[in-house]
């Protein structure tokens, strides 16, 4: 083989291949860029926790456009990037859910599961409460208790219905309650229906960031029905004191309630 000729041939061939490969690479880069622009890379999952203290409320906008209004002393956990659309709640919150039939929205609260079927609803699940309550303002909610002792079917709640779940029991509907009562707090109202003064005091402390102590056990057991709209803690305590015949002392957050001395 003529070394020069061979060399000449060899010098020519690599040049052609380089252009071809460069064109192919450019095309692949272009396709890659285009495909990258057209197809997003799935983001990494990211857990989020939103917490409110006593006297606080927060409005949380979830990635799927669901709006959650979180009541005081409540915690909401959810995951960014989770297509399952599930949140965990400890406390109280109102949900306005954008419905996706393929991806139902699930609220897990102390064992109970409320599955949205396109709705607005309120969940009350404070750890100190004996049960979880779900009140539906509009649409439909399927309420289940996966931790029930026996397998149970879902309780379907429609607008105006209130459902309740106790620790290991099947969910039940609360006939004597109205859903509107559970949503009053969203408009600045608090409602108490024949509840012990101790429970009222606890709830007021939660809403007004106060530490209310009732010095007399008998007084703590007395029942109260009340409703307050846009009231201050001072207004509420004055009304309670006059209606229930007690007196109170207040020092910063600390409020002590006792029977009247006379």
């Amino acid at each position: 083989m003529d070394a020069t000729g061979v060399d000449a041939v060899h010098r020519t061939r690599p040049r052609v291949r380089w252009v071809t490969w460069a064109a192919a690479a450019a095309a692949m880069i272009a396709v890659g860029v285009a495909s990258t622009m057209m197809v997003r890379t799935p983001p990494a999952l990211e857990a989020r926790v939103v917490t409110t203290a006593a006297g606080q409320r927060r409005i949380v906008h979830l990635p799927d456009s669901t709006v959650v209004t979180l009541g005081p002393e409540s915690t909401l956990r959810y995951t960014i990037g989770d297509s399952a659309r599930a949140v965990e709640l400890d406390g109280m919150a109102a949900f306005r859910v954008v419905h996706h039939s393929a991806h139902p929205f699930v609220v897990r609260a102390r064992g109970a599961e409320a599955t949205d079927l396109g709705t607005e609803f309120v969940v009350r699940a404070y750890s100190g409460d004996s049960s979880v309550h779900v009140a539906v303002a509009s649409g439909t909610v399927a309420l289940t208790n996966p931790s029930a002792a026996a397998p149970t079917s879902a309780l379907t709640l429609r607008a105006g219905d209130v459902g309740m779940v106790r620790s290991h029991d099947a969910p039940v509907a609360v006939r004597q309650a109205t859903a509107a009562t559970y949503a009053l707090w969203l408009n600045g109202s608090l409602s108490f229906d024949d509840e012990p003064l101790a429970a009222v005091a606890k709830e007021l402390g939660r809403w007004f960031d106060a530490d209310i102590r009732i010095a007399d056990p008998a007084l703590a057991k007395r029942r109260v029905s009340a409703m307050y709209h846009d009231a201050t803690l001072g207004n509420v305590l004055d009304a309670l004191a006059s209606a229930m015949h007690f007196e109170y002392t207040r020092s910063g957050r600390a409020i002590t309630v006792r029977p009247r001395s006379r």
Partner: protein, 799 residues
């Protein structure tokens, strides 16, 4: 229910702020900040909120909660209080939240207290009396007791209406407030109504009135919702409404709701007073010319009440007893009203009225003269909660009402000596009913009205001058009218209230069917300020033969539209503003425009033998504005300022254009009542521009030529002939008048005794009501005066 997610923030911030502030650590028992709830809502606006509340066997606790929830009130109660589980029954009606709470508290022996911030608490009825009371009543004291706020509930209903009704052109006023104006001889509803904005009267001698430029026969006058045709005594100086029977007066000066038909300009509906306290109570009123008395009581534990009242003038009896002369006139009337509600939502009421004016023979005349009204009506209503029809829910509650009434007006004036006989009989039978469905923010009403009128009018005489006030004619008619109406009141937003409806009337004798749409709205710019607007069409098929220009119209004589007399129409548009300065003071201003078609104005030259010439056809317009600044009753001062600017024009079919007699351009009324201790002082000042009138520019005497004596001699068969100038081309002088009154409240034999002195036209202003022309000797014009300086005395007794 939408979950509104942002409204709490401001309140919450306040709440949080309140908890951050350091407070003195001292014991606090804030009873002193709470006061017993009164019917005026203790100045808390939310307590004046109108609500529809009714209870049938619910517990007091549930009732309190329902009222609080409806009116969005903050409340606190102890459900274990005795009385809280009492079962109560209270008929459903619209009232303020304060009144509803008090009714529930009264029914359950509980007490409602309220703080300045509007917090409501419910306590035992005597849990904390506001002040220690003497165990032994002080029976030695005989100081007068002035109960200033007895009617506070009704008075504050103006605020309730402001919040719940479009109410364009409407005025609601209690009999008590109307009574506060100084009165001529005795309090009179229709005379007091003349002091309202948009209202004026032709003269002091008529209780009739003109509404926003309309003729005075264009007003529908109702007694408890039943029509009354000629509601006057003594030639129009007194109305047929006995003062003690007047509970509340609803006045519509335009923008009339669909349930009112048959008149073009105004509606006045006088609701009877209903006793509210236990025991038998009564009143007596003795004035210079008449005495009246009423008695009433509640029964069935407050579920029912009745009242009867009667009145008679006694000038004839006094004159006849102490003088050889005779006073040939008296009038008398009586009224009864009963109402009863049942726990199942049924309410029935009945009202009856009868009155007569009697002119007895005097001198050499053999009179046989009387005229009077009779009204009897019954209403049955039932409320259904959560009513359904064919499975469709109609509303939170549905009220079905049925009314039936019989109204008669009869008169006979017979003076054989001047060959005069006039008779007039109007019989009106009426059936009406409605169904109203109430739900949150909406009320839908569907109703009907069937009216049957028999009319028989005859008047003629050889004495032509009488035709001015009692037109000569002979007419017998039957009129049948059928009407249906529908209406919806709803609140599209919290700031906007809309009322849209329509009424279809069919008048058989005229072969006429017409549609009258009615629309009104109110838009609240803020809690105390609203703009209003209304437009509507109206029809009238009953017309008075009375001539507007006559200063005295003793009786209205009615005839109906038929093939020769068209149904009159009017169309109005109103815009206004209403502003509340505080819970008891407000003003409103309204501008109006009203157009009339096929208006009928009496023809003074009508031929008694020719049918159909009783009226001229005319068209016209009225426009203007009126203002009212009003201080409601309940405090030491109450009263109102009313000013009206109005322009009216008419054009007859024969081409004559003129300003009608009621075209009063400016009219200002100031009415005030001051309470101080046992004394109440009242005053009314009125200044108004003059009314149009027709001058007489000359006169002549018809003469007959005597061919024997060969000279002209006056013809005795003719009166003096006058030459009138252009119709209504001049104006009477302006009108001004100041009235004052003083009343002292006292007690005597356990009854409230209140003597009063009232002085009409204190300054004796000369206000001509008309002119008399005399051309018999020298040309002479003498004025016919309105009321001169006239003090009157009386005493009111209540027990």
């Amino acid at each position: 229910m939408p979950l509104r997610l942002h409204r709490m923030l401001a309140a919450l911030a306040l709440a949080i702020a309140s908890t951050q502030s350091s407070a003195a650590a001292q014991s606090r028992s804030p009873d002193s900040t709470f006061a017993d709830l009164s019917r005026d809502g203790n100045g808390v606006a939310a307590l004046l909120r109108p609500i529809t509340a009714g209870f049938s066997g619910q517990t007091a606790e549930a009732a309190f909660k329902a009222i609080a929830a409806t009116a969005r009130l903050s409340f606190t109660l102890d459900p274990r209080l005795s009385g809280m589980q009492s079962r109560i029954t209270i008929p459903s009606s619209v009232r303020s939240a304060a009144v509803a709470l008090i009714e529930v508290a009264d029914a359950s022996n509980l007490r409602v207290r309220v703080s300045p911030s509007g917090q409501i608490i419910v306590v035992e009825a005597r849990a904390s009396a506001p002040a220690a009371r003497s165990a032994t009543p002080d029976t030695t004291r005989r100081d007068p007791v002035v109960l200033a706020a007895v009617h506070a509930e009704a008075e504050r209903l103006e605020r309730v209406r402001f919040a719940s009704r479009t109410d364009v052109g409407g005025i609601s006023i209690t009999g008590r407030e109307l009574r506060s104006a100084p009165a001529f001889v005795e309090p009179d509803v229709l005379r007091s109504v003349q002091l309202m904005p948009g209202i004026s009267a032709r003269s002091d001698y008529t209780a009739g009135f003109n509404v926003r430029g309309g003729e005075n026969d264009q007003n529908l006058i109702l007694i408890d919702g039943y029509p009354i045709y000629s509601p006057f005594h003594f030639g129009g100086i007194f109305s047929t409404f006995i003062d003690a029977t007047v509970g509340r007066v609803e006045l519509h000066r335009g923008g009339m709701p669909v349930q009112y038909g048959g008149r073009l300009s105004g509606v006045i509906d006088v609701s009877p007073a209903e006793p509210t306290s236990t025991g038998t109570h009564g009143t007596a009123e003795v004035s210079l010319v008449s005495s009246s008395a009423s008695v009433g009581r509640v029964f069935a534990d407050g579920a029912g009440s009745w009242m009867i009242a009667a009145r008679r003038t006694y000038a004839d009896a006094i004159v006849n007893r102490f003088s050889s002369d005779t006073f040939p006139y008296h009038f008398q009337d009586g009224q009864a009203h009963v109402a009863r509600s049942w726990a199942n939502g049924v309410r029935m009421s009945a009202t009856a009225y009868a009155g007569a004016d009697v002119l007895t023979p005097v001198l050499n005349y053999s009179f046989d003269n009387w005229w009077g009204n009779g009204v009897a009506g019954v209403t049955a209503a039932k409320r259904f909660d959560n009513a359904r029809l064919f499975g469709i829910r109609l509303g939170d509650s549905v009220t079905i009402e049925q009314r039936a009434s019989l109204t008669r007006f009869s008169s006979q004036i017979a003076i054989p000596e001047i060959v005069y006989l006039a008779t007039d009989r109007v019989t009106d039978r009426r059936l009406a009913g409605s169904i109203a469905a109430h739900s949150a923010g909406s009320t839908r009403t569907l109703g009907y009205e069937l009216s049957f009128q028999d009319l028989d009018y005859h008047s003629n005489s050889s004495f032509a001058g009488l035709a001015d006030i009692i037109p000569f004619d002979s007419i017998r008619q039957q009129s049948r009218a059928s009407s249906v109406y529908a209406d919806q009141l709803w609140r599209p937003t919290t700031k906007l209230l809309l009322q849209v409806g329509g009424r279809v009337d069919a008048v058989q004798a005229s072969d006429w069917i017409g549609f009258s749409p009615r629309v009104s709205m109110k838009y609240w710019l803020d809690r105390n300020l609203a703009v209003t607007a209304a437009a509507g069409s109206y029809a009238q098929w009953m017309h008075s033969l009375g001539r507007e220009e006559e200063p005295i119209q003793p009786i209205q004589f009615w005839i109906a539209s038929d093939s020769t007399l068209p149904v009159s129409r009017s169309h109005d548009a109103i815009v206004g503003v209403e502003r509340w300065m505080n819970p008891t003071r407000f003003f409103h201003v309204e501008a109006f425009y009203k157009r009339y078609d096929d208006l009928l104005t009496p023809n003074p030259y009508n031929d008694a033998g020719v049918r159909g010439d009783e009226f001229y056809r005319a068209r016209g317009a009225s426009y203007g504005a009126d203002v009212m600044l009003r201080q409601l009753d309940g405090g030491p001062f109450s009263g109102w300022l009313a000013y009206t600017y109005s322009v009216s024009t008419r054009e007859r079919a024969d081409g004559l254009r003129y300003f009608p007699t009621q075209d009063r351009r400016h009219n200002l009324n100031l009415v005030g009542s001051w309470r101080s201790g046992a004394y109440t002082l009242g005053a009314r000042a009125n200044i108004a521009s003059g009314l149009p009138g027709t001058p007489l520019i000359g006169g002549y005497i018809r003469a007959r030529y005597d061919p024997i004596a060969r000279r002209w001699t006056p013809d005795a068969t003719f009166d003096e002939q006058v030459i009138p100038g252009e119709y209504n081309s001049v104006r009477f002088p302006k009108y001004s008048r100041i009235d004052v009154s003083a009343t002292r409240a006292g007690r005597m034999w356990g009854a409230s005794v209140s003597p009063y002195l009232s002085v009409v036209n204190l300054l004796n202003a000369h206000n001509p009501a008309g002119f008399l022309y005399d051309y018999s000797t020298r040309s002479n014009r003498a004025s016919v005066p309105n009321l001169p300086f006239a003090p009157t005395l009386g005493v009111s007794i209540a027990y």
